[in-house]
Symmetry: D3
Subunit: 252 residues, 6 copies
């Protein structure tokens, strides 16, 4: 089985870290292909970044259809482009945020999210609300930390993250903590060992959920919402997004 793990930003160091995290849990027969889109922002910290990055995700999924891919993981904690990606392929697509929510829900009754800079709070709130998880996710906490800081200063980042996760357990009474950025993948195991509650890294959760879906032979439903995009012309720099005949046909 071949899973394409798409880091929606273009920072290759981070893509490699994400690939490693996925590989560390992938099954024996699973090949992990970790990529970044050919275009887009170097990190994702706003609706603006996310909106642009989602197009890169779609591009990678579309390319994946001829690369023998069995499932896709979107490795940014806002699940950018998730709905759209499911239209483009019938192979399973899993977002790391949703995967961490569902996985956490099976080992903890109430949990929290700790993420990067404060402005992402609204983005996360809307996502949590959209997934129906408002009763279970009892706190969203943010850090004074940019996504690229994690690459630049892993140790300092770990200190900040550890403090906030600890506070969430102590003050929010969180029974598990979801790490709200793909860049935090490397810290999950150490934090879990230290704190004694499940620490969910979305990359790891989504990789396994993708394997599970493929293992069960499940395909994205092509009825109503996730039908293939209607065939139509795309102009300008997206003109290649419009030759959707192959996609549309695949699901017919």
């Amino acid at each position: 089985m071949k899973i394409k793990v798409i880091n929606p930003n273009t920072t290759m160091d981070m893509t490699e870290g994400i690939g490693e995290a996925a590989r560390s849990v992938a099954g024996a027969g699973t090949e992990i292909v970790a990529v970044s889109p050919e275009f887009g922002p170097e990190s994702i910290e706003s609706f603006y970044d996310e909106q642009v990055a989602a197009c890169g995700v779609l591009d990678e999924v579309r390319k994946g259809e001829t690369e023998g891919i069995d499932a896709y993981v979107i490795a940014c904690y806002g699940d950018p482009g998730l709905h759209a990606a499911r239209e483009v392929t019938e192979r399973p697509v899993v977002g790391i945020a949703e995967a961490s929510f569902y996985t956490a829900s099976m080992v903890a009754a109430r949990f929290s999210i700790v993420s990067v800079i404060p402005r992402v709070r609204t983005l996360l709130e809307e996502m949590v609300h959209g997934y129906g998880m408002s009763e279970r996710i009892i706190a969203i906490r943010t850090l004074p930390l940019y996504v690229l800081d994690i690459e630049r200063d892993p140790e300092g980042s770990m200190e900040k993250l550890r403090d906030e996760v600890r506070r969430s357990v102590a003050e929010d009474d969180a029974e598990a903590v979801c790490l709200g950025c793909a860049g935090f993948a490397r810290f999950a195991a150490e934090l879990e060992a230290e704190l004694g509650v499940p620490i969910l890294d979305g990359v790891v959760c989504a990789t396994k959920q993708a394997e599970l879906l493929v293992g069960l032979g499940l395909k994205t439903s092509k009825r109503k919402t996730y039908r293939p995009p209607e065939r139509k012309r795309f102009t300008g720099m997206f003109s290649h997004f419009g030759t959707a005949d192959d996609i549309a046909e695949a699901a017919e």
Copy 2:
């Protein structure tokens, strides 16, 4: 005052119709600039289309910052790119769906939406839920009608629309109906005259709401959610999306 009305798709006939609708209600001192992005899909009927189109919206808003624009209208009934656009400028940005919801809420206690092909239902449901309008919007109805059919066959489209709006009033007990596609703008007045309940066209609503915000001197809050995007490098075909210094500075 200069309002840029952005039709997120690239069908210029539709852009012109949208511009006309906006002009038909704009105040004496208001100049309407109706545009389509230089790139993107010719119509928007899926999450995929919407995701790509949103980048075109952002491009038009970014260009608008040096064009003397006072406010922006996003003229597609999924409000694509709305959150992100508000990050990019401090000038008001109004989506036609939200504008129609708020306007309808002041003249009707319960109302419905009638939109294009069935697959958009999920997209609309999530939007309605996100805006907190689930109690007021009592039905979402769709038509066997593609967006471009409206340009190609206005009369046939009007027939289908009229029938469904009528059914919504009769069967859903809708007290007003929001037309769920910018392409329906031209039909609103006739339907309202025929049916005797408010028929809300989002283009018209959003144009007036944009004028209202400008008239009150309101600017998008630059605290937390809609702060300017963080400065960073964008690569590939989006490289020009990253020279965001001017935008960031404007709000500092």
Copy 3:
């Protein structure tokens, strides 16, 4: 266009202030008629006050129907009598709370309300919940301040208000603040200048929304909820509330 701005309480100093606020933003061709009912409480700070004041609002709307009025504004931050007023006339009726919510929603993702004495919190909570705004309005704050204190001691009131608005921005992370009393209208501009986030005064918002609705030729839907009240006998001091034939006929 003639807009009747109804201050539901009977304190004429406040009515004048409200009229001024409305006039300060009204369009060139708009005449503002600011009134208080002939009967009712001198201020509104409880469900009891609000319930009685709502009858005064209805009386003013009913009289307005022969005064050439084009739209009505209910200028008390609980929107007293709003539903009922919409039954009595087909001309638009706008509450200052709803107008501030919708307007704020177009310039801020999350905002708060700062209002008068603590007991109004429940009243505001129920209203916010009813309008579907619970996700966007992240805090309701109250002040140790009676409505009439604002007239008696504007400077002291401004101090208290400023402190609480500041706290809401700092502690609630509010991106905009709605002033939860019509008496606060005069302070909005200064606060906005000081704090750098949108400060929404409902009187100003509602006046412009009323103009917008009239400008678009919108009328309150007379289907189902806001049909004219059924014709019937009212007795005692409300006997004149029952000669509703003219109202009923107008909408038939």
Copy 4:
């Protein structure tokens, strides 16, 4: 114990029927005083009627404070003036709608409401939502029947009511039905016998709940929401509503 059952409309035949319904279930030591306000509408079928009628309710509660009353029942299925009435007295006040909801909830998992003319649906929906009963009340049905029709043609009314209640049981799978008008009190027993599911008349439920509260020595909390109304001047035809010193003092 003395319970004042207030029929908020001024139709004395209906008041008598309501009084009888209350007396039919009152305990041995309970005196039922059934009254209509001295002013207000002869029936309540809109927000307008309800708003005015609520003032009559408040007047009757205020008078009750010197009449040796132990508890109040508001006998109109919109609970008009309930919050405000609780501010005016510390003696329990019970609405017939809330009483029927709570009572029904203890004998049925899912139930419905059958009420009068269709326009009351919105009023009932907002009330149900406000009471947090949206999950349990699975249907609201209305009848082509004015409130006063019940007095004028009891047999014909019973026919219409029976048909709709039967439909609600059969089609909505309602496990119990709340009769959504105080005028329906007389039909409850017969319907229950016929249909074999609990048929809840609010008058009966509220009378017993009021007895229960008095029996337990419970008083309305005077903390925050239901504090006595602030002392202030009321003008015009409501001037006597403002001499609230006795009320305010009673709770201090």
Copy 5:
């Protein structure tokens, strides 16, 4: 009338206290039979305890059907086995938590719960959510106190309870407080006298609500949800749970 008050745990001292609380408010003609199941945990402080205790409740309700019982009260503040018990009998069954919520709702707009050890919070949250009471119950507070501590050290327990109830009134602005454990029944009156807000003991509330339901001749609806359990074989130590013919027949 004979009400069986079932203390779901097997601590007889507590059962007696609960019986006394019920008797202290029961009507003249009401006989209170306070029992504990023959099997189960000595206290209930987790989902595990509650799950097992619920079977004891069912056993007592089933025995009650031949003991001339008119109604049942489940006297543990998680309402264990409530839905199931209503299937087993057509006589009213009332849980002390639901009874306290409905009763509190008629005398306070916003209230809180104070309960035992912290882990019960999730259990209470899910129950509050299930009853639709999330808007009214503004806080759930827990104590460092085991259920059996209340029997062992009533004075120390009262101190802890008083402090937390006081804090809830002061900090949560609670207008009434529900005591979240049947063992707290004895402290309610003293706390209410001290704090001046309604203090709701569920045992007392449920006993009176059960009397009310019997008084009104109401029976649990046997349509859909609470139909008698289907006849079937139960094996092992529950084999006597399966001879349900009498129960099933009773409601046919």
Copy 6:
């Protein structure tokens, strides 16, 4: 890895079918132990059945702690005893309903449930609401089919199930369908092949989710909600449920 799949009812034919379903998807190194409790109902079709069966589930989980079990699956579509089971062990416990919801959410935007006899609807509604899945699960459908009918007449059962699943796809516009009974496991593949939308059998979903959790080394959080049950005495036929020292110690 050893997964204990607990069929909460005592019908061994069904247990075997469930075991087969689990084995059909289990990984190479996974041993499936399919059991029924030693006591309890032969099928689960009511709150009563479920309540009793949950004790059997707990018994099997407790025994499993000395049987070298790595994870547990509760194979009844009401997830009976799930919360309680998670208190008893730190090894993952997965319910088939939750597993089917989370799995379906990753391949379909809107889906439905088709289950057995009509009375289970309320049980399922409350569960769906509790899991926050109300927006995604757009319909719950039931069949005139007892659980044991499935064993007795598989072909007839399949006919009924097929018809209703088909109707759900056609009329509810369901994009996937969850089979709401463990007994339906055998029909999933055939239905999926016929209907072309994902048909989710909970047994299969839960088995894979359990493997996933074990594979990731995740353990149930022992903070707050799922702490081991407090040590205490259980009496009567549950006395062995109280010797919880081993359990409690395991997690300390």
